[in-house]
């Protein structure tokens, strides 16, 4: 077990280095020099060669590639992701400030996905082959295929612009009713596709378990149907579901980019979009690294948790 944890930690570290390298290379070989980007739009006039040289030196762009890479790795591992070109603020600090909003949105959407997905999946499995089963699996198929940006806009059109029930954008901190109202549409937008995935998974996992002898025994003993389904079957169908929920957390975290951009949710994803629109490379680079590293960490935690939840899992 311990050797598994150590091996898994080492592997995660390797993946993080890989992520950093990939980001470095893609930014480095991108056409267009960041300095040109920096001076061309707002500068108005032409920058003197001296100024360009000075800026190149300031950002270390006059150094050979391996030196730049070494510096970049070193500062990234010290959690220094550089400064925004547009407002000169440290990217790491901004990300840390914005992350709670993204975390809240991601957790809320995971809740939406888990609740809807589990309920639909159980209903479908219990009514296998019947109308409810077919209907819910069709809805799940539609849910997987509906682009989240389209769903977000449709929700906004209906519930904010036409009916006026929910605020169209922004975030209220805390857990007040107002805060929850702001959260409903972004969390639904983000969570629906995952709900569909979970519904399919819960259905197949439940169908497997419902065939087991102990379920039949419980039913034969005269245990109530609801109890059989929830206590005997569902509890044993939970394991794969927990794993997928963990893995989906990372997917939702990156999917938040779209939900945040639609609903002006002030999180990490919106920061990334602002960075993209402003061609602010340190912001784009830093945010991508930040989300990818969290993604790696979440997967690591899921893997480790899985071994605690299910002692039967072998690590060789």
């Amino acid at each position: 077990m311990l050797s598994f944890v150590v091996r898994r930690l080492f592997f995660s570290f390797f993946v993080v280095i890989g992520v950093l390298t990939l980001v470095f290379l893609s930014m480095h070989f991108a056409p267009g020099d960041p300095i040109d980007m920096l001076i061309s739009p707002e500068g108005g006039g032409r920058a003197t060669p001296e100024l360009v040289a000075q800026l190149r030196a300031k950002y270390g762009l006059d150094q050979p590639l391996h030196v730049q890479y070494g510096r970049y790795l070193k500062s990234a591992l010290q959690l220094d992701l550089g400064r925004s070109i547009r407002n000169d603020r440290p990217v790491t600090q901004e990300l840390v400030r914005l992350f709670p909003a993204t975390f809240q949105l991601t957790v809320a959407s995971l809740l939406v996905a888990a609740l809807i997905g589990t309920a639909v999946g159980i209903l479908a499995a219990v009514n296998k082959g019947g109308f409810i089963d077919n209907a819910s699996m069709t809805v799940a198929l539609l849910g997987v295929s509906l682009p989240n940006f389209l769903l977000g806009l449709l929700l906004m059109l209906l519930f904010a612009l036409h009916l006026g029930w929910l605020p169209p954008s922004g975030r209220e901190p805390g857990f007040s009713w107002q805060a929850i109202r702001h959260l409903i549409m972004p969390a639904t937008t983000l969570g629906v596709a995952t709900a569909a995935i979970i519904a399919r998974l819960v259905r197949s996992s439940m169908l497997d378990v419902l065939k087991e002898d102990y379920v039949r025994t419980a039913a034969a003993k005269g245990v109530r149907r609801g109890t059989v389904i929830m206590r005997h079957a569902f509890r044993n169908a939970l394991n794969p579901i927990v794993t997928v929920l963990g893995l989906e957390f990372g997917v939702l975290l990156s999917g938040a980019v779209i939900a945040e951009s639609i609903f002006a949710w002030p999180g990490v994803g919106r920061y990334l979009i602002l960075g993209i629109n402003g061609r602010d490379f340190p912001v784009v680079q830093g945010t991508v690294i930040f989300i990818a590293v969290i993604f790696v960490l979440v997967n690591l935690v899921v893997d480790l948790l899985y071994s605690v939840l299910d002692p039967r899992v072998q690590y060789s």
């Binding site: 592997f11 390797f14 993946v15 890989g18 992520v19 990939l22 980001v23 893609s26 930014m27 070989f29 991108a30 056409p31 267009g32 198929l141 539609l142 997987v144 295929s145 509906l146 682009p147 989240n148 940006f149 389209l150 806009l153 449709l154 059109l157 612009l161 990372g250 997917v251 975290l253 990156s254 999917g255 980019v257 779209i258 951009s261 639609i262 990334l272 979009i273 993209i276 629109n277 490379f281 784009v284 991508v288 989300i291 990818a292 993604f295 790696v296 997967n299």
Partner: protein
């Protein structure tokens, strides 16, 4: 084979999906004939018009015909879908073949590289590459291709591992067939079915990712009639003219749905357990 085809075409959902994909291809190939207007022609006397006999899906904020733009948009989506899945497939399959066939250190190194790609949430990798490469169709294709490489590599490797030790491969090797021929003719062709399934499933994902990139402003640049970009512009005007979102929205939803159904159906039909 015929029995499989019959089984494949048994479900009405699958027939629907096949029809949608055929329509999509027809729209992409015959866009100039099917469109009623030029996709980028502006008409400031007919701005944000609701659907009518002249403008079947209405007009957008600068008076362009939405129906014609949706039709031309099919071209972009099909191009991006086919080329990115093709490119991603080519690279992924190659990696998977080599990795599974040679095993050992080659396998370890290649699979760790694939793990790094998998550690990137797909959309984020696409955003990174599309931002780095700049706006346009080619960057989007590369970005979306990168997103599909790991899946292909994994699937191909798995197939190779299961085929590699089979007797016909042993026999070919004993007969002195060269590695490259062995890989392509004996191993690749025999592990083609799962790759085809994933290619179909990834088509939907690729079209969706490309649209999401344009929606976020890192994809195909305006005024190109791309569905995601159209939806992105439409959000400014959807309050006074909700129809602007309908045409491209339905187009992309139905397309992705069709590819998902087709992928599922192909998987069931090609699954030897059925």
């Amino acid at each position: 084979m015929r029995r499989r085809l019959r089984r494949f075409l048994r479900s009405p959902l699958t027939i629907f999906a096949v029809i949608v994909v055929l329509l999509l291809l027809v729209a992409a190939v015959f866009a100039p004939q099917l469109a009623t207007h030029l996709p980028n022609r502006q008409d400031f006397r007919a701005v944000l018009q609701p659907p009518s006999a002249t403008h079947w899906l209405g007009t957008d904020e600068i008076g362009r015909d939405i129906y014609s733009r949706v039709i031309f948009g099919a071209r972009i989506s099909v191009t991006v879908g086919l080329l990115s899945v093709g490119l991603g497939g080519l690279i992924g399959i190659l990696i998977g073949l080599v990795s599974g066939f040679y095993g050992g250190a080659v396998d370890s190194v290649l699979m760790r590289l694939i793990d790094v790609l998998l550690a990137f949430p797909g959309i984020l990798l696409a955003i990174l590459l599309a931002t780095a490469l700049g706006a346009g169709l080619v960057p989007v294709i590369i970005a979306v291709a990168a997103y599909s490489v790991p899946t292909f590599a994994r699937v191909m490797r798995g197939s190779v591992l299961s085929v590699r030790t089979r007797e016909f491969v042993e026999a070919a090797r004993a007969a002195g067939v060269r590695d490259a021929t062995l890989l392509v003719r004996h191993i690749f062709l025999n592990s083609f079915a799962p790759v085809l399934v994933y290619a179909t499933l990834l088509m939907g994902g690729a079209i969706l990712t490309a649209a999401a990139l344009s929606f976020l402003g890192v994809g195909v640049a305006p005024p190109t009639p791309e569905w995601g970009a159209m939806i992105s512009t439409a959000r400014t005007y959807m309050r006074q003219a909700p129809h602007v979102i309908l045409g491209p929205g339905v187009a992309i939803f139905v397309t992705v749905l069709a590819f998902n159904i087709l992928g599922d159906a192909l998987r069931d039909a090609l699954d030897p357990k059925n």
